[in-house]
């Protein structure tokens, strides 16, 4: 009796320690990053007193500002498009039956298992060929840039959105849609008033995922980017090669802040949603 209690005590202690270590491992780097972004020293990891200089430089630096606005533009557009397409794909797979459904199902998830570098090379090849063809067939002159970056982000985000939305659709009671139709809703109305509210958390989750993936991506973006389409992560990556300045600390903190705000926003949105529902 007492020995099992003692065991339980030890186990609990070990679990607590584990939790502490894991959190330390997660958050110590973030803590360091934030602290050193305020360090008044030209070396990345040395403390030279408190300053806002790096943030001032961040605001003043045109390259950083351009990269930030490209990142945001690409993220928003690719998220919107991939949420719509990913949700439609999820609906097609869960609610309809059509020829080749199995194959479509398998192919849809390919981008998730393909390594980033492979995906990047594929995209590069595809866009190069595509641009050449457009030029030689229709005389349309395109070059790599924001469009190709956005298209690639859409391509890899769709799979993630559709996985998340599908999980939600799968958990939803299909009888609800039938009940709606039985109560004089057309198929479209049944979707609008019953299915959509039911899968909304999935769609919001998918959108958040797409936004984060887009804001994060370096490898694929770097391959398909052209002049004027450098995103913030790609810019940071470039900074490191050119010799590091604590500016990248400040840039990273800004990126971190954006990500955290997105998560908070989604939590708040979900809370107000359910609050409104309860009223």
């Amino acid at each position: 009796m007492s020995s099992t209690q003692q065991m339980r005590g030890t186990t609990k202690w070990a679990l607590n320690l584990n939790a502490v270590l894991v959190y330390l491992f997660f958050y110590a780097p973030i803590f360091l990053l934030v602290v050193y972004s305020f360090s008044n020293d030209n070396l990345v990891g040395r403390w030279g007193g408190f300053t806002f200089n790096w943030y001032r430089e961040f605001a003043a630096n045109d390259e950083v500002q351009t990269a930030l606005s490209v990142s945001i533009k690409v993220a928003i557009i690719s998220t919107l498009v991939s949420v719509v397409l990913g949700t439609l794909a999820a609906l097609a797979l869960e609610r309809a039956t059509f020829r080749g459904q199995r194959i479509f199902d398998a192919l849809l998830y390919l981008p998730i298992i393909i390594p980033d570098v492979t995906m990047a090379v594929m995209m590069l090849l595809f866009f190069t060929q595509g641009i050449n063809l457009l030029d030689s067939w229709f005389g349309i002159r395109l070059s790599k840039g924001v469009t190709t970056v956005t298209l690639s982000h859409i391509a890899f985000s769709i799979s993630f959105v559709s996985i998340v939305v599908r999980a939600r659709l799968d958990g939803m009671n299909q009888k609800l849609e039938e009940a709606a139709q039985d109560l004089y809703a057309s198929r479209l109305q049944a979707f609008r008033y019953v299915t959509l509210p039911q899968i909304m958390p999935g769609i919001a989750g998918g959108a958040l995922l797409a936004l984060t993936l887009s804001l994060d991506d370096v490898v694929i973006t770097q391959f398909v980017a052209g002049p004027g389409s450098t995103t913030l992560p790609v810019y940071v990556f470039g900074l490191i090669r050119r010799g590091v300045s604590p500016l990248i600390n400040a840039v990273s903190v800004v990126m971190l802040a954006i990500s955290v705000s997105l998560v908070l926003l989604s939590l708040i949105l979900q809370r107000t949603r359910s609050g409104a529902d309860a009223a």
Partner: protein
Amino acid sequence: MTETTEKCSVPAVGITGITKRFGDVVAVDNIDLSIADGEFFALLGPSGCGKTTTLRMIGGLDFPTEGSLRIFGDEVGTLPPNKRPVNTVFQNYALFPHMNVLENVGFGLKMQKVNKSDIAARSRQALDMVQLGHLAERRPTQLSGGQQQRVALARALVNEPKVLLLDEPLGALDLKLRQEMQLELKTLQRELGITFVFVTHDQEEALTMSDRIAVMDSGKLLQVAEPEAIYERPANRFVADFIGNTNLLEGTVADSTTVVLANGSRVEASSDHAAGTKVAVSLRPERAYCHEVGGAPSAHSTIDGKIRGTTYLGNAVVYRVALDWMELDVREENRPGMAKFEQWQEVTVSWDPSAVAVVAD
């Protein structure tokens, strides 16, 4: 036939030669059925016999593979559910979890573009009808099973459907609530005069509630009749066995009034099966009596056996009587002076010949 009688005889639901296949599975097999206006009609049968599929076809949630389906004379075979004057109470209610009770009830009216103030008034009225007016703002998940059932009922009835379809609406409730709701549903149906088509696998429920019962098995319709006729004059062996308890004594028809049982004894039992047909004599336990050997009334048919077991039910006792070739259950009501028998005592089982039914396969 005059114009007016023609009109009165239009069935609420008219099903002709309907078959439904899912791939190789024949869920509903060429059934004909006519449900009258204002009728409380039960579809009864074991699980998987095709009841839900039949109901879904009436509601438009499944379309027949073959055959014609009319609602008050209008062919609706492939009309979508939102175009039919029919509403459904689903098996597990299927209430919308993201809407409160009042919004659930008002959904059908909203889809029919009824104006807002009418929706509110009619929804409240429907909720009052099922005594849930005080829970209008609740979420479905905050209600008990019985309350959810009432919301589902109000949500369907508020649309004033011409036919209400109910798929095992009481299946998820406990016995006491179930019996209460049976009575309530029946009363409601009488007051509203709406045709109810009610699916159940519970024969007792079907007998208690319905004007008529359709017994189904393996997608086929076996018998359609009033509860009494189903119980007293089952169309075949399956119906006799499925409805209530019965003893099936195997035998062969000798002539229109005699059956030769499997042990060679001849008993009086009238039937219109041809001589030589393999049949069973269905003897309900409550129609049989146990006596000391030789103590049976002379007008009764008899079989001798031994008491093999006794089940005490409180209001009755069921004796299991072993014959050489089968066992019989005999139910004696627990009245003062009820004859009592010992284990392995020799007894004579008797019954009035008019109390049995002869059934073939």
